[in-house]
């Protein structure tokens, strides 16, 4: 199987430029598509949330489209929906984000709406209360969802006092403490062009698209903008395994998470761990974990692993949904696999299979405009280099079994895990 490297995003087909105000623009043309997809990120993530106002960054981002200085809520959405276009904002930990889609002819409309919501939101009080009711309901539902609550408790236990332990969407208790003035203040302090990136993919002439971005966002300045905090180091990992149960009444199934720290996204450990993670809980029918828990024991519909990596670190975890009566058996089976994964090198067959999988699926990831935009986002967010995807096959090819074992051992100690389950009387320790 051969891959045409130049069909992948790379320096010769990505236009990357910076506006004078600091906004980075990445564009890739796809003449075969009648539409365009855009996404991007900017300063204003939940890392800035004050402790008593968790959810402030997300509330602010979600409120941007509730009305601007130019258009009220209904006018904004009338423009968008009449064009069959979409645009939305939300917050993540390190940044706030946006994404939108339109027919190519409507790119100017999309960029103008993006700019006016981002730069001149009105935060109309009556719309903020509608949004608050929506957030309140969402948090109520989250608090009674086994998967969400297992993840929430897991992150609290894993990250301790680090900002990664806090949910971007906040809590039912913090939501009432967020007022309109807080949103205005948050917007003034943190929103600005510095550190912002916008990615556009679709049937557009790059020069014309760049000019449109310049026109919409080029005049934005915020001298008061406060940039991201210094990187906080992750806390020390627990000296021994921590186990907790979150009780939620009336649930048929419990959600289980077993996890530990993951790498920073731009760490040299990331790719060997990714290949290792694939072998452990993704390849084929969810890797070794899926084979043990689902295929052989029939204990779960899903049992797989995921490797999360961000700017300051991440998490590496196993997640499974099991009947409460099978919980302990599932945990035991998973622990056996984790133990083995830190003791023995993976087999040549497993290694070669996963490497072939990573290389083979690369072109598939770029089938759609949204897929390409997601790749460009990663390149810019984690400073991976414009040639990242073109060099990817050879970097994957260079990974060996000893390297996976050595790297895994630096992250995974089966005696020091965070184990959380959420469900009904699941038998775990409360």
């Amino acid at each position: 199987m051969t891959i045409n490297i130049h069909s992948l995003p790379g320096p010769e087909n990505i236009i990357r430029r910076q506006l004078d105000n600091g906004i980075t623009v990445l564009i890739r043309t796809n003449p075969d598509s009648p539409s365009i997809y855009l996404n991007g990120f900017y300063n204003g993530g939940s890392i800035f949330d004050p402790a008593g106002q968790l959810g402030l960054a997300d509330f602010t981002a979600l409120a941007l489209m509730r009305g601007s200085q130019q258009h009220n809520f209904q006018e904004l959405y009338d423009l968008l929906e009449t064009a069959g276009a979409s645009l939305s904002f939300d917050a993540a930990v390190h940044n706030a984000r946006f994404a939108g889609r339109a027919l190519a002819e409507d790119l100017p409309l999309l960029l103008n709406l993006l700019a006016e919501c981002l730069i001149q939101p009105a935060f109309p009080p009556e719309q903020l209360e509608i949004l608050r009711a929506q957030l309140f309901t969402g948090l109520t539902m989250r608090n009674q969802d086994t998967g969400s609550m297992a993840a929430l408790r897991f992150e609290e236990l894993l990250y301790g006092s680090h900002p990664y332990s806090r949910p971007v969407e906040g809590h039912l208790e913090t939501l009432p403490h967020i007022q309109r003035d807080d949103l205005i203040d948050f917007h003034q302090k943190y929103y600005g062009p510095r550190g912002m990136t916008i990615v556009i993919v679709g049937s557009i002439d790059p020069e014309a698209a760049f000019a449109l971005v310049q026109q919409a966002l080029g005049s934005w300045h915020n001298p008061a903008q406060i940039d991201m905090l210094e990187a906080a180091t992750l806390p020390a990992f627990p000296a021994q395994t921590i186990r907790q149960h979150v009780e939620l009444p009336g649930k048929s199934q419990c959600d289980l998470i077993i996890g530990w720290f993951g790498p920073m996204r731009n760490s040299p450990d990331y790719l060997p761990l990714s290949v290792g993670n694939n072998i452990l809980g993704q390849f084929g029918m969810m890797g070794r974990i899926g084979s043990s828990v689902r295929e052989k024991a029939g204990l779960a519909y899903y049992a797989s692993t995921s490797l999360g990596a961000s700017l300051m670190g991440g998490s590496w975890l196993v997640a499974a949904g099991v009947n409460p009566t099978n919980l302990e058996r599932a945990i035991d089976l998973i622990l056996v696999e984790l133990e083995r994964f830190t003791k023995e090198t993976v087999s040549d067959e497993e290694l070669n299979d996963s490497k072939a999988n990573f290389t083979g699926r690369l072109p598939m990831a770029f089938e759609s405009n949204a897929g390409v935009a997601s790749g460009l986002w990663n390149i810019e967010r984690y400073q991976l280099g414009l040639d990242y995807y073109q060099l990817y096959p050879q970097r994957i090819a260079a990974i060996n079994a000893e390297q996976i074992l050595e790297t895994t051992r630096r992250y995974l100690d089966p005696q020091r895990l965070v184990i959380v389950d959420a469900g009904t009387n699941a038998g775990g320790m409360a």
Binding site: M1, T2, I3, N30, D32, S33, P34, S35, Y37, Y77, L80, E81, T82, A83, G84, A85, S86, S88, R101, L103, E129, I130, A133, Q134, F136, T137, T140, M141, Q144, D145, L248, G250, K251, S252, Q253, F283, M285, R294, E295, G298, L299, A300, Y301, Y302, V322, N323, D353, A356, N357, F358, T359, G360, R361, L362, P363, M364, F366, S368, N369, A370
Partner: protein, 432 residues
């Protein structure tokens, strides 16, 4: 053989219908095999059998044992999955273009040669029960299941595709195997392949892999059409959550009735545009829809949505609302009814229809960017109609007039034909 630009349609001697579409924008091929079998073909006591059979196809054949199957796909960077629905079961592979023989070989083999090993049937039983228990954790599923059962008295559309839990405990290996042998035949299947290939070469490959399979008899269709409800039904489901949901299910036209398109436009105005695409293609928000304005902006609900599925027999048109914790569902229901009465009493404007059309065209364009969606549509449209259904979709929507919407609202949104479902906290209306 029918050919237009890059599309080819043909039927093999054993009855297998084949659709091919050349698309050369990315070096990949999307392979789909669709079977006309789903929960519609199940009888009481055997619900969930179609979905379970789908799972068993991943347990392999003598030539492709289960231990190798996933690896073969993953090794080349491919992805695969399968879906079971009311009328159909579909299996797909997305592979690098030069690896397509793997999908052709594998799918043609497992159409008739799966072993259904008794031990694997048993281990899959607990996996499927676990899948169902995952669904049961969700208030949406519990309400949906109760409403579907109220919406039909006999028609198998009353059952969730995953099946009733009691049936999942009692279905046998032979139930599964008989269902498989009855419905997994070339004459009951549609093969749809889209992507980076040469049509003549692909036709030769299809002949090589699929033509040898015996056609098999016409499978039985036990489902009998059922008249719409004549009196509104109400169903209340309670649970431990503080969640309050309000849903309305109206008996809808099947995909081949002209009113299907009329209701599609009507729904776009009432609850917002929705897409039938399966793989991405994005969505358009519904903030200017009538229900959002009348309910969410007024504080009666926090979210509103609606939609219809394209089916062979008349299924349901659903409206779904999420209400704030602690609220009373009655005023929300009244507000929905006011909007429905408005559609029954006042003609919508031509501008409203034009707007819905532009939204439909945009969703169509977004979806067609994805090669897997193109393969999906060639098979999917054949499960309830012909591929023309897809090709003519936008032009059928263009025929809809304000008068047709008025008539459709009066006919299909008659309250006597609906089920109203409410999900409430066990302890009353919740503690807000």
């Amino acid at each position: 053989m029918f050919q237009m630009t890059n599309l080819t349609e043909t039927t093999l001697e054993n009855g297998l219908t084949v659709f091919l579409k050349e698309i050369h924008t990315a070096p990949l091929i999307s392979h789909w095999i669709w079977y006309r079998v789903g929960s519609r073909d199940e009888v009481p006591g055997k619900t969930g059998v179609s979905h379970w059979v789908e799972h068993m196809l991943f347990k392999g054949t003598p030539r492709f044992p289960s231990t190798d199957l996933d690896k073969m796909i993953s090794r080349v960077g491919g992805s695969w999955n399968a879906y079971t629905y009311l009328d159909w079961t579909a299996f797909f592979e997305k592979l690098p273009a030069d690896q397509i023989d793997l999908a052709l070989d594998l799918e043609s083999d497992r159409m008739q040669h799966c072993t259904f090993d008794p031990e694997e049937v048993e281990s899959e039983r607990t996996v499927i029960i676990s899948e169902r228990e995952g669904h049961e954790n969700s208030p949406y599923f519990r309400l949906d299941e109760a409403m579907q059962q109220q919406s039909f008295d006999r028609h198998p559309y009353r059952n969730e595709v995953i099946g009733e839990k009691a049936d999942l405990h009692t279905l046998t290996r032979d139930d599964l195997y008989n269902h498989y042998r009855t419905y997994y035949t070339p004459g009951n299947a549609v093969l749809a392949i889209a992507g980076d290939f040469d049509t003549q070469t692909m036709l030769a490959k299809i002949e090589k892999y699929y033509a040898k399979l015996p056609s098999g008899p016409q499978p039985p269709r036990p489902a009998q059409l059922e008249a719409p409800l004549t009196q509104e039904r109400r169903v209340e489901v309670t649970g431990p959550e503080d969640t309050i949901l309000l849903s309305l299910s109206y008996r809808a036209p099947d995909a081949n009735q002209p009113d299907f398109f009329t209701l599609t436009i009507l729904d776009s105005l009432l609850s917002g545009p929705s897409s039938l695409n399966m793989f991405g293609g994005g969505s358009i928000s519904n903030k200017t829809s009538r229900l959002y304005r009348a309910l969410v902006e007024q504080g009666l609900a926090v979210a509103a949505s609606g939609g219809m599925r394209a089916t062979t027999h008349p299924f349901l048109y659903d409206l779904n609302l999420v209400l704030p914790p602690g609220s009373d569902p009655e005023p929300a229901l009244q507000a929905v009814d006011e909007q429905i009465q408005r559609l029954q009493n006042e003609r919508v404007s031509q501008d409203d229809i034009q707007r819905a059309l532009k939204q439909a065209r945009a969703l169509f364009a977004y979806g067609s960017e994805n090669i897997s969606n193109q393969g999906f549509w060639m098979g999917y449209a054949n499960m309830f109609g012909k591929y023309d259904w897809f090709l003519n979709y936008v032009s059928e929507l263009e025929k809809v007039t304000p008068e047709m919407i008025l008539q459709a609202a009066q006919t299909w949104l008659n309250p006597a034909r609906r089920v109203v479902g409410i999900y409430l906290p066990e302890n009353g209306t919740g503690a807000a």
